[in-house]
Symmetry: none
Subunit: 460 residues, 2 copies
């Protein structure tokens, strides 16, 4: 008998921190654990080498007339520091009060185990289940998935024959309300460096004759938003997808409490574009944020210097159908146009990711050519969630980014069904990460039901 | 024989960074070096304890009928970082191309050594020179001289019997044109810290609902200047002293080359208030500068965080008759009035210093009650400079600050004769600071001649 919790414990015991060069053994252990597990379920496992951590590609043989699902997950985890805040230790999985504690319990080992367990049970019940299943499990998600794009390009001929992607790497507000993530924001990141004089200057000897690069940078940064919180860059909103009424209705059902949210953030006023309350702004609108700024003297006390340089790190969260490269150019062009005389600008390009949106069947804006299997997967998800969790899921766009979902869409042409499974209290990326066992068990049942329904419906 | 250059090397070798708690040995070494040197010249040396770095008070006994000069200097230096830009190392004095390189070579160890050497030569030539000399050498100038005011208060009965103060801690445009500094800018410094959310936030999950403190800080900073380079704070210019026509005439004789100045700074456009060319702006107008800014992620690559806090370090250079406390209040009030909703402000007060002005004899605005010894000192300086450097000095207000000069005026009632000795290319407060040896040698001769003339004229 396949015991999901025991398997998850075994998985968590492998300290698979992809960003830590000292965690090689843990990475290898986690990779071998997953490969072995899928092999034991009858999958043909290929360990695909990359520049860093291999991708596990596990195929279930089947007939080309069967529906074909790709199940995505990742076996790497975030670093566990600060270790002193953990009890028990991050890689010593422990069950307490109905939760399993350990780094990666929720992100993403627990949710991945949900789907592996569902497949194990399905195949145990019906070894001849008419469903092609491909597991695609990477080891670099917590580092920005640098090898994933090249992998998709290389395997695209095979993988694009699948019908949809199924995964759980998103959240739910509470155990009573499941959420299918129907959109993710993209990313466009770059740094701006402003140079004034060729070296740091004495602010007494030279103060008052030249523009301080901190001032120039402040003027540029201050120009990038309007008083009502919009990004003040010509063309920035041109490609922003309209919010469809059903999306606002769906969000209303979530029933967020603005006062509680402000208290959680510790702010006394929101700052959102007119007409967009905070829960809408974070899902439906793009942003331009300053992630860091620096220049001149930052130590204790004073140093009366006019610095030569100052920099800011800018990231834009993008919504469909904004394109990262186009947005980067628009923002950079606006900055160049506004740069005051007497300073030089330099841009340092950073990474990017496309936004993503998928519309479930039966909505006002559902694509007419939506694949029958994808539509069936959504319907099966709706039915399974309603049956197991007691109420239907909400279909919500989210503010975060999972760039590989858009990459899969772009390269393979496939949409994803993102079944949320982590709770706010799961402490992702933080000490004492955990995953709720009741969510795990219901998740397995849900996944099993969805996959069974997709198999039963066939390709039509 | 007293060898000024060898003595200066010995002095520079002491890493006397007053602001660095780890530089205690260097501070003690420099202090003991100066005390020992003055003791060897026959001075009665008192090392006056302060809360931090002692002040050296060295007296030459004499008759109360003799003129009495206080020679001021400081034995502390600026921090030397970034160290990788130094060649040779900052505390390894090296002579190259007629210059001595090292942190403090020009500010202020070299110029101080000029006057010590002049006194050494004078006393060697005439041990009975009828001149009372008091050396007053502090170790906290680069930190804003926090102990100097209390010291002046404590020793005021003795020190206010002196006739004038003589020092070199100011600059000259080139070796052909000596400058007597007739005014200095004051200082008003504080930090501003802006807080948004109570902790750093994930820019995907929460981006677009709150004002980023970096943005709020940028908006505040950008508001503090007008497009034409004036400080945009109500009342800021209210107490600014009018420029007297002779001051503009004197400055014209300086004949600064704006193009060369821009090239020296490495900028392609000046930024000064309308009607004030750069050489006037830096002398006659106050400034508000940003000396440092920081907040959020500053490392390599990216971190998609909305930081909780951001800060800026602000310093105003003040001209007579602006008052530091009044200016701080005006600027802080303007900042508070402009602070956007949703962020909290905190000010961290830093040091301050009054501006200073002294008018040489024979000008339209020379005070009628100017002391005879001070007037004689100015005349002696004029004559000595003309004889040794080939043309008379210019009397110019400078952009830098030596707050203790205004403190001396306020507490002791004494004016200062500020003989400029550093060149623009000396790199004060920057890597590869140096002092020109030919300036040093002529400076010694000049100082010697001035002091001899003041002694010869008596008190009248």
């Amino acid at each position: 008998m396949f015991d999901p919790v025991e398997k998850l414990k075994e998985f968590i015991r492998q300290p698979s921190i992809s960003a830590d060069p000292k965690a090689k053994a843990g990475m290898k252990g986690a990779q071998e654990f997953v490969a072995g597990l899928l092999d034991s379920l009858g999958f043909a496992v290929e360990v695909v080498k990359t520049d860093l951590h291999p991708i596990i590609l596990a195929r279930r043989a089947g007939d080309s007339s069967w529906p074909h699902v790709i199940i995505y997950g990742h076996y790497d985890v975030q670093p566990a520091d600060p270790l002193n805040l953990w009890a028990p230790a991050p890689f010593d999985p422990t069950i307490r009060d109905g939760r399993i504690y350990g780094r990666g319990a929720a992100d993403n080992k627990g949710p991945l185990m949900v789907h592996i367990s569902a497949v194990a049970r399905l195949l145990e019940e019906n070894p001849r289940l008419p469903l092609k299943i491909t597991f695609l499990i990477e080891g670099e998600e917590e580092m920005g998935s640098p090898s994933f794009g090249p992998f998709l390009e290389k395997y695209q001929d095979e993988l694009r024959r699948a019908d949809f992607v199924f995964l759980s790497d998103t959240g739910i507000p509470n155990e009573d309300q499941m959420v299918i993530t129907a959109g993710l924001r993209g990313l466009a990141l770059f740094d701006l460096e402003v140079t004034g004089a060729k070296g740091d200057l004495h602010s007494g000897l030279h103060g008052g004759v030249l523009r301080n690069p901190i001032q120039a940078l402040a003027e540029i940064c201050a120009s990038l938003h309007t008083a009502d919180g919009r990004v003040n860059v010509p063309g920035f909103y041109d490609d922003v997808l309209d919010v469809h009424p059903w999306e606002r209705e769906e969000l209303k059902k979530l029933g967020g409490d603005e006062k509680a949210y402000a208290a959680f953030l510790g702010i006394d006023a929101f700052y959102t574009p007119t007409g967009f309350p905070p829960f809408e702004a974070v899902r439906f609108l793009p942003t331009l944020e300053f992630n860091g700024i620096g220049g001149g003297y930052q130590g204790e006390g004073t140093k009366t210097v006019i610095p030569s340089k100052a920099f800011v790190k800018i990231s834009c969260r993008l919504v469909p159908n904004q394109q990262p490269d186009k947005i980067k150019k628009l923002v950079m062009d606006a900055i160049c146009a506004r740069a005051p005389q007497g300073v030089k600008l330099e841009f340092i390009d950073q990474h990017k990711g496309d936004p993503y949106v998928v519309v479930p069947p039966g909505r006002s804006n559902t694509p007419k050519n939506q694949s029958a299997v994808l539509a069936q997967a959504f319907r099966a998800t709706d039915a399974a969630v309603t049956a197991i969790w007691g109420r239907p899921p909400l279909y919500l766009r989210e503010g975060g980014s999972i760039p590989i979902i858009a990459d899969i869409k772009r390269v393979l042409g496939l949409d994803s069904v993102l079944l949320g499974l982590f709770l706010p209290e799961d402490n992702l990326h933080a000490p004492n990460e955990s995953f709720k066992l009741s969510v795990m068990e219901k998740g397995i049942a849900t996944s099993q039901r969805i996959l069974a329904a997709v198999a039963a419906a066939g390709k039509r």
